[in-house]
């Protein structure tokens, strides 16, 4: 994988240029489980299982099947180098991964090709996508804390989701605990992500998320906190949503 300096990125109201540049530098390291993204690789099995289980419940599939997502159209917003896209493509989903960073998309395409997976990667933003496209599953994992207008962003997510579909959002909660942990603890101590990838004031509370979703007639049907135990060096789900959390949203009608 080659690292490219970010020269251009799709301009869009919801993408903060500084944020994009920071992530692009990381793209080459995305797939190294012992590299800078090690924490993301560690947390990935948990996120994959959470999303898979929610989708299987919603679409009445067996989570033990190796093909449990077959026929479902899935959009991964802010897909990075494809850490979620590849597993879900293997489970049979038709995956579209979008990311505004060209080097992320380049790294993602390269890796998918070598893994013999066909995934539709697009260097674009949610806002620039064809407004008529529809998806069974919309993933916004660790992105809402990077966008400039959370409300507008979630409106777009809701619009692009089929009425029968499902949305999964994960983010960091804006609490004093997350301030201490995600900024001081997670970023510097746990090396959750390299220094400066998150700004605490942009974190989103579950209440804010709920409000934005309800405006779009979506309700939260499942939620889980994601906690790290430093001694076991393990992530697990928990009812504690003070720092990391994930929610599943579906139509209330």
């Amino acid at each position: 994988m080659t690292t490219q300096t970010e020269t251009s990125h799709a301009a869009s109201p919801s993408v903060d240029p500084d944020e994009v540049a920071k992530f692009s530098k990381l793209s080459a390291e995305w797939w190294d489980p012992h590299g800078k993204m090690a924490p993301l690789h560690k947390i990935n099995p948990l996120r994959l299982a959470f999303i898979r289980d929610a989708v299987c419940r919603k679409f009445d599939r067996s989570a033990r099947s190796l093909n449990c997502l077959s026929g479902l159209r899935m959009l991964d917003i802010g897909c990075g180098a494809g850490l979620l896209c590849e597993p879900f493509a293997r489970l049979g989903a038709q995956v579209i991964g979008v990311d505004p960073s060209e080097s992320n998309i380049a790294a993602a395409k390269l890796h998918a090709e070598r893994s013999h997976l066909s995934i539709d990667y697009r260097c674009t933003t949610l806002e620039q996508m064809d407004a008529r496209e529809r998806f069974d599953i919309v993933l916004a994992m660790e992105v809402v804390e990077h966008v400039t207008d959370v409300g507008a962003f979630l409106d777009r997510c809701a619009a692009i989701m089929k009425p029968s579909g499902l949305m999964v959002v994960s983010t960091l909660n804006r609490t004093w605990k997350s301030f201490a942990l995600a900024i001081v603890g997670a970023e510097y101590v746990l090396r959750w992500l390299p220094r400066g990838t998150h700004q605490w004031e942009k974190f989103v509370t579950p209440e804010e998320l709920t409000r934005h979703l309800e405006r779009n007639k979506l309700g939260i049907t499942e939620q889980a906190g994601v906690v790290y135990s430093p001694f076991a060096d393990r992530w697990s789900t928990s009812s504690d949503m003070d720092v990391n959390y994930m929610v599943v949203a579906e139509s209330l009608e």
Binding site: A49, L66, E86, F88, R90, L91, L117
Partner: protein, 399 residues
Amino acid sequence: MNDTSADLTLYDVAVVGGGPVGLATAVALAQAEIRVALIASRKPYPDNRTTALLSGSVDFLQRIGVWERCEDKATALRTMRLVDDTRRLIRAPEVRFNSEEIGLDTFGYNIENRELLIALEARAAECPTLTRIDDDAEAIDVTELNVTIRTRQGGVVAARLVVGADGRQSICRDAAGIEVKRRELDQAAMTFNVTHARPHHNVSTEFHTPNGPCVFVPLPGNRSSVVWVASPAEAKRLMALSDEQLSDAAERAMHSILGRVSVGPGRHVFPLAIEQPRQFAKNRIVLAGEAAHVLPPIGAQGLNLGLRDASDIADLVIDTMTRGEDPGNPLALAQFDSRRRNDIASRTMAIDLANRSLLSDFLPMQAARATGLHLLNAIRPLRRIAMREGLAPTWRRLS
């Protein structure tokens, strides 16, 4: 699946080796619809070894649809009897463990490896996602995203994960770059089967002789399998005996408790060694069975441990793959390594201790642990003797 692979089939998992462990692993994976290539040339089973399958192994074989095919060939082990013939253990000349005492119907079942393999082969043949490649692996090349295996007859197989169940001289282990700690024991195990005049009543008897243990394990009818551990010179001498002389020797060793003994066809000698690889998984290759551990044939641990390898590998691969992940990814391999490490290390240590102390109390220990019961009362005096024998330092040295 969205695989776009063109040139050659990419399997999820390739299992190398068609011994009991390789076959069981392949079946357990294929049963979950994982695409498995089993690289194993068909050859007649080379020896007359039998295996005492402990309850956990039987449960696993049941889950993979194998037990029902060989159950009628297996003999229940209800009583384990240890007889001291060394005149060194003053306190306990004979100890008996009954399975009912710990709330079990049996400790396990003894079966000829040949019969177990027939059942495994038959089950493997009915798994639609299992492809049998009747050939030997010759060269193994690990790359970042998969492993390529070249076979003797020139075939090429690619897989994301390789299970090295290719026995003691594992080439998978070499390909993974895993070193082995090997300790030759100055002992050899001779195996043969006997017919005896009196019924065994499902009692397995271990005679502890100054040379090493001599174990009689029940087979169907008035038959038992014998594993006789002795010095290499003594094993050589026994091997050279005529059937009649060996029958006499065996009968003497067992103090004629089953009456007149006559040996059946086929005997084999296995030099004993303890082998421990430094890792159990590395570079998209996981080790199973004798590739992952060689133990003296005491307390029926070898294949039971191997079947636990198979069961653990299958569980972990299924978990990984039902999340859509690459089953050979480095984190999955690290998880496998740590999961097997404790089990294998503690069992190896225990067997080594038992071998040295001539006290194979580990079979009932194992059974007891399986039901959450304890045999501590029965075992405490044995343990005290073991300590008196000054063998505790052995344990420490190994840990």
